[in-house]
Symmetry: C2
Subunit: 127 residues, 2 copies
DNA sequence: ATGATTGTACTATATCTATAATACAGTTTA
DNA sequence: TAAACTGTATTATAGATATAGTACAATCAT
């Protein structure tokens, strides 16, 4: 299926984020070979050049490495994977609170809204 | 001071978000006249055309309206302002949990991480 | 050995974005 | 009344982005 992409940001950046999340969350396992540029591009419904750009940019973080003629692989460094997972989560949390703060919600108010949402989802999505 | 803008997304979109937040969080009060296109552009260190685009796009949401020769004003509709504030907050919350879920964190795990972060900030930023 | 697959490179083209530089009609201000 | 300011419009230019199409050398599978 085509990946969910919006037109508000460069596609290659969105591809990078998606793949990074897939690596870090374990969709691809350490050491795994990932699909070829062309296959990934086909899956994402995107030009191969765009996917190539996303992947080569991603290599700079060390999550991926390419073997020029045999394919592209996930790093074996599980410590790095775990670290990036925690770093990303922390980043998401801080950005979220920054947005809420800018909207005028304090940390406590934000926490309450979150708990409300979670409670509501626990007992069903309607009402 | 120049506004905080990154190069990953179109500037006019970032301006829109910033101004929208400023309206909704009350930096600009209902009925207020906001600074002119040129002044805002100067403040943001951005081309007047770019600011003009951001403002005219923003008008479609109803938060602003322009009087062609006298200036641009915040809506008086406080009900709309409150609604947009809650809608935006809700959107931020859902997007945040979606990101965390994609990283592999459950709702409960995410909530715990948040509480950790808040506890840590309560007792000082170091350590 | 042969053919398919791999990452990579290159050119060309179209669109979007951002800036610069003007211009104009109506309103406000002094 | 005259000058300054308002939103808006226009043209031109430069850069980033996305796609299309093609090519090549090394490796892998059969």
């Amino acid at each position: 299926m085509p990946w969910e992409l919006d037109n508000d940001r460069p596609i290659y950046l969105q591809l990078m984020e998606r793949i990074q999340h897939d690596i870090i969350s374990g969709v691809y396992k350490p050491g795994d070979k990932i699909p070829s540029v062309r296959d990934l591009a086909l899956d994402a419904a995107v030009n191969p050049n765009t996917m190539q750009k996303a992947l080569s940019e991603l290599e700079r973080s060390g999550l991926l490495y390419s073997q020029r003629t045999s394919g592209r692989f996930i790093t074996d460094d599980e410590k790095l994977l775990k670290k990036m997972k925690m770093d990303l989560a922390s980043e998401h949390i801080h950005q979220f609170f920054e947005q809420m703060h800018h909207l005028g919600f304090s940390d406590d108010e934000t926490l309450e809204m979150i708990q409300d949402v979670l409670r509501r989802e626990q007992y069903g999505t309607d009402s």
